[in-house]
Amino acid sequence: MPLILIAILPFLGALLPGLMIRAGRTVCAWTTATVTAAALIGLLVHAPAVLAGEVITYRLDWLPQLGLNANFMLDGLGLLFAGLILGIGLLIIIYARFYLSREDPMGTFYTYLLLFQGAMVGIVLSDNVLLMLVFWELTSLSSFLLIGYWKHLPEGRQGARMALAVTGMGGLALIGGMLILGQIAGSYDLSVILTQKDAVQASPLYLPALILILLGAFTKSAQFPFHFWLPHAMAAPTPVSAYLHSATMVKAGLFLMARLWPVLAGTPEWFYIVATTGLVTMVLGALIALFKDDLKALLAFSTVSHLGLITMLLGFGTPFAAVAAVFHIINHATFKAALFMTAGIIDHETQTRDIKRLGGLRHLMPVTFVIGTLAALSMAGIPLLNGFLSKEMMLEEAERTIWSGTPWLVPALATFGALLSAAYSFRFVIHTFMGPERHDYPARPHDPGFGLWGAPALLVVLVVVIGILPAAVAGGLVAAASGAVIGGDLPYYSLKIWHGITPALYMSIIALAGGAVLLALHRPLDRLWQATPRPEAKVIFDALMAGVVWLARAITAGVHNGSMARSGAVFAVTIVVAGYAAWAGGAQAPATRDLLPLAAVPLAGWFALMLVTLCLVFWHHQRLVALILIGVIGLIVSVGFVYFSAPDLALTQATVEVVTVILLLLMLNFIPKTTPFESSAGRRLRDGAIAVAVGLGAAALTFALQITDFAQPSISAYHLANSKTGGGGTNVVNVILVDFRGFDTFGEITVLGIAALVIFALTEAVLASPVGKWLANRPLNPDKAGDAHPLMMVVATRVMMPIALVVGTYIFLRGHNEPGGGFIAGLIVAIALVMQYMASGFDWAAARQRFPYHGIIAAGVLIAALTGVGSWFAGRPFLTSSFGYFEIWPIEEFELATAMAFDVGVFLCVVGAVMLALESLARLARRSGVRPSPHAMDVDPSRDVTAGGQ
């Protein structure tokens, strides 16, 4: 299976659970599991080659100009992580099927889970750091959805927000770091960057890049001082916690450090930042974990601690430490996922996770007891379980490490961390399962069905098997992954249980014995711990966030308080100041163009425009008058466009003008006839001064631009020269719209369609609310005069309809070579249709409307998109147009261009959007109790009365 497919499969599969949930929860779970299993199998097919040292790659150009390519790479490290993500993901999917209750929307859960899974697989398989950043952000977003899955719990929402804020900020830093790294290395491809160790470490930008990248990694992997989000993310359902915090999300940071280890590691900066952070995190996390009563919180802090351990190992920068780190990643994923699932089982069965309310469960839940105990003992580092092996390697490496000339510091703290780790692991076992059976569990506990304990049991089997036969079971994977991390020859190491009497063994014994002693003293220590004041991370975080929000609000409110006048003033002043600065700092080239002679008619038009605009400024409080004045301005502008040889613009302006007037008149029906005077005289004077400054500035700028030729050749010349040869049309405006800048147009018609749909949705929302009732029952206007559906108008519009349609068709067809095109044709047809609504009424017209406008919009966008996609089949980029000339007797030679199909899309979208917007607004004006007239026109209003038999 190509690598890109492995990464994309979960994303594609994410569509399925939401649909399959209709077929039942089990079907939904199986579908999800099938998707993950397919990706896993696709990955495992490559495993033999990768374990033999091969690197599988897949390359696809995406935006090569930016260095952003969809390049994927699978080496030992990628195989290890992708295997963990997909393998444990599969177990989590099965576990979640039995864990989630009937009230939980399972389809949503699996969709989020698959999105997250795809993002994670994407990170570990990316060969391009920019692509990796995309996936990195996707994990932040999808984990937000997963952590906040229980939307009704405030802790869930807060935890999700906190996780998003912290990892999102880290992601931002990471982007900076990766860009610097890519600049230094000269490529954004990892396979290139990894070979540039000397260049990167010699660069003066090495330290900034390192710090930024590490910020990304540390926030993701919950390293001190960013560790606080992880325990709060425990508000998520247990399958999420088990997945995110054992094998995936938090391991992404470790993966990043491991991935970039060959380029970044080995310097003192790397050692002191990474190893120290890891060490502090390990000890601190373990210490807090010991005093947590919530099982999941205990596991959360133990996760923080173990992540610290792995970070520290990576930070040591020696090949042996890297091997130990890789090995511990495997071991931690297995026992920690099993432990989280055990905690979930206990929570599920006893309805509590509070360790103080548990105890004595070993007889009630024997299966869970065995699973949980084996996993916890592995975490403590008991021989014959896998946790022991990697911990021994860690201690061995720590023993050799000298921190700033102090040889005892790292070994002592590492031993202390291991001791604490042993203590909380023992506590997990003893305080939950041992001791006397109690009678006050919130629910009567018993072992769950196989569905719940099957997944952790499988993991515990791995824990034991790796623990006993490490080299045989995990040796190949460890070697392959470590080889990828180190990027060179592997150091000497041996994965076996007995290494002889070594210092590490003594340290291990001290840790286990000390852990047992510490647990015996837990009660007094706990009292002491609870009495000690400590900074509460959540309080600090919340205060920080509140401060940031306050600052953002203050700035936003200062610039943009919702008042159009304020926004306009800020914008205008900025423009004037920037324009003045540019003007004062530059020089004006001498005039190279002569002024055109002034004719009388344009002068009259100019005078009219000025006068009407001035009137508008003074009279805009009377809304209907303002609309009429705007109509005059629109007319003069249209005529001006024709005069200045822009007939396309003139046609557009004239038709848009009509639609705008109808739209605004529909709205004016619902709002007061006048705008109240709200601003003081001083304020108006100030705003007037700003407006005059902007107006004069814009006029001066236009004048200055027009009296000289452009310094550089303008793009217009290119368009004029290539319109016929490249786009097959002589109407440059239309060729620009549908060909040169077709992608723009495609975006615009999509936005237009969305805007119309939003108007529709808002109208529906208003009509469904109490406001809708009020609108339907508001009193009729007593001053109404004339007929609702006058004969003259009905007849005139009926006659106009076919003419307007023919004109629309004509304008459309000739658009490529003469003024016109889909946009104008769409407006003309929409106006022809609106005429019918106005003449014969909403009900009459709506009854004859056979295609819903939503569908017309969608058809337009789809046709445009399909036209664009069509060029892919010809091996050309999206929306490349082609054209040819055809001759069918008896018609003369004519041209067909793919751009015309695109223009059909534009046409349909415009018709649909305009009609949907107008129809939605007209819907607001309908009243209840007014029976629609069955007749198209009001010839004789009394006929309904006589027909009714009165």
Binding site: V612, V632, V642, E818
Partner: protein, 89 residues
């Protein structure tokens, strides 16, 4: 001869346009302004046609046709808004 006729006609319609403008600026009611705007559209169409004849370009003729075809809708809409409040009943 043609040139004189064109100049005369353009002069007349321009004058008409300015008189419409006067009506828009100073009018007893909104209805008068609507009428003035409608007449203004007609005068503008006439000017476009005349200008097209003057420089011999058919495009102006087409544009004026389309403005004529759709331009009256706004007037109808204004009238309906004034008479009945609602333009689509």
């Amino acid at each position: 001869m043609m040139q004189i006729a064109l100049t005369f006609a353009i002069g007349c319609f321009t004058l008409g346009l300015l008189m419409n403008l006067w009506r828009i600026v100073k009018a007893p009611g909104v209805g008068d302004r609507v009428l003035a705007l409608d007449t203004m559209v007609i005068n503008a169409i006439a000017l476009l046609v005349l200008y097209g004849i003057a420089i011999g370009d058919a495009v102006y003729f087409e544009v004026s046709l389309i403005i004529a075809m759709v331009g009256f809708i706004s007037t109808v809409a204004y009238a309906r808004a004034l008479l009945r409040g609602n333009i689509i009943e």
